[in-house]
Symmetry: C2
Subunit: 284 residues, 2 copies
């Protein structure tokens, strides 16, 4: 399984973010994709473009962050390339993973009747980014900290890669918002889906934001940077998937069901579909 993803200062992270967090984010956005494919990480190549003001101190912390995650996720650095750039810090990673032949989990594979699961909680990172951009929700320090840390350093769900591989009919990682990403999975599988908004797994902090501003549900669902896994599971395998995820210490939540047809709908507590102004977050 091959994957490449870059992160760029001022686009995917703030230029003054800690260098160790930048390294972690660069690695983890790629790890997240492997996890959703049911793949085990093997290692990665790093292509680093740095402005000339970057010094040894920044590089030392970057290397420390990279090494920590390489060890944590069992994913060594195979090699790389460093260049000067007149632009922002650009960290491009190409990552290699393995799955037993023919078992990689794809986006196309969901069938009517499949249950829809998502890992962890959704929307935290997008709300964390909104906070960093000045959103003035009244939150406890711990809640603010939680949301902002979810934006700063993703928590990829590699712990359930094997559970996904052995149970999911289709999967992808949620990087650009659940609404847009899961819609892509539905299109690839040529199916429709209904998600019940009331069943979405939300952190206490996200719940506090939504209590203050109900419209923030759009940010939660379309804001991006979740790095959770959304997957579909055939009904007879649902309980086993839940148990496998629990054994791996990752919360997975059933949030809806696949149907015949096309289109992804988020059903509110009033039974009506939520309208979105935009389908998915796009960095472009």
């Amino acid at each position: 399984v091959l994957k490449t993803d870059a992160i760029i200062g001022g686009v995917h992270f703030f230029p003054n973010d800690d260098a160790g967090a930048v390294a972690s984010k660069a690695l983890r956005v790629n790890l997240s994709d492997l996890a959703a494919k049911g793949a085990k990480p093997l290692g990665f190549l790093l292509s680093l473009a740095l402005p000339k003001e970057i010094g040894d101190d920044w590089l030392g912390r970057f290397a420390e962050g990279l090494r920590g995650d390489a060890v944590l996720f069992g994913c060594p650095l195979f090699g790389g390339d460093t260049d000067r750039t007149p632009g922002p810090i650009t960290v491009s990673i190409a990552m290699f993973g393995s799955v037993p032949e023919g078992t990689m989990v794809r986006r196309a594979g969901a069938k009517p009747g499949d249950r829809v699961f998502v890992s962890g909680t959704v929307g935290d990172a997008a709300l964390g980014l909104a906070l960093r951009k000045g959103a003035a929700w009244k939150l406890s320090d711990a809640q603010r900290q939680h949301l902002m840390s979810r934006y700063l350093v993703p928590q990829p769900r590699n712990a359930i890669a094997e559970a996904v591989r052995s149970h999911a009919s289709a999967a992808m990682d949620v990087s650009d918002g659940l609404a847009g990403d899961f819609a892509k999975l539905c299109r690839a599988s040529k199916v429709a889906a209904e998600i019940e908004v009331a069943r979405l797994p939300l952190s206490d902090a996200a719940k506090a934001v939504l209590a203050a501003e109900a419209g923030a549900i759009e940010t939660v669902l379309t804001g991006g940077d979740d790095y959770e896994i959304v997957c579909t599971v055939r009904p007879p395998k649902a309980d086993s998937f839940r148990a496998a995820a629990k054994a791996a210490n990752v919360v997975v939540t059933e949030i809806g069901q696949i149907a015949a047809g096309e289109g992804l709908r988020f059903i509110g507590t009033d039974g009506k579909a939520l309208p979105f102004r935009r389908a998915a977050f796009s960095h472009f």
Copy 2:
């Protein structure tokens, strides 16, 4: 064989270079490295960061250039990632190649007595870059064109990858100037070397520049962007290597010899070693 290398607008190419040439250069700097390792290209991942002023026209020509070289070198695009950047165009490629197990050609492996060969001609691209920066040598249009095109679009020597694999004791591609790169090979192999400047393969255009400005030999040897292969070959294999390269329509030239000790010396026609102000071209 895994390899990653990025090229960045304003660093490795001019922002107004043709988009097709940018795509070719991005791919070829990586192909060149595979060739020097004796590896056959398998395919590549592309991570592209584009400023917002890049439109469909540029992208169309970029894709055309990429596709042309992917076909020419038998190296398909496996996947990729595109992002917006507030900085310059950044094209990062991760490339995969294959060699029969245990036969990859490394930098460490040269032994005293080995002959030193280089492919093609050296210094053209560095002189082409100097021309683009305003160097005012008197050259014919064809000569100018030759030097500038060598900078714009490298000609990687993948045609002799197999010849290198089956004959060379050590090899690397020359991307940062023959002087600095071959010195790295000598250090990795823990040997010394002497190169005879009179034997260096030079294009007619490069000879014309040197006739006008003898000091330009420093640019030729330390200027970078050659994307030729420098390799060492045990004496009994030298003739066979020459024949194999000839069969692949690539000129290789014997330019010197490996010796015991350390240090790389370029010996001029006066028998004295050339002094360099700097050992190697560095983009940093």
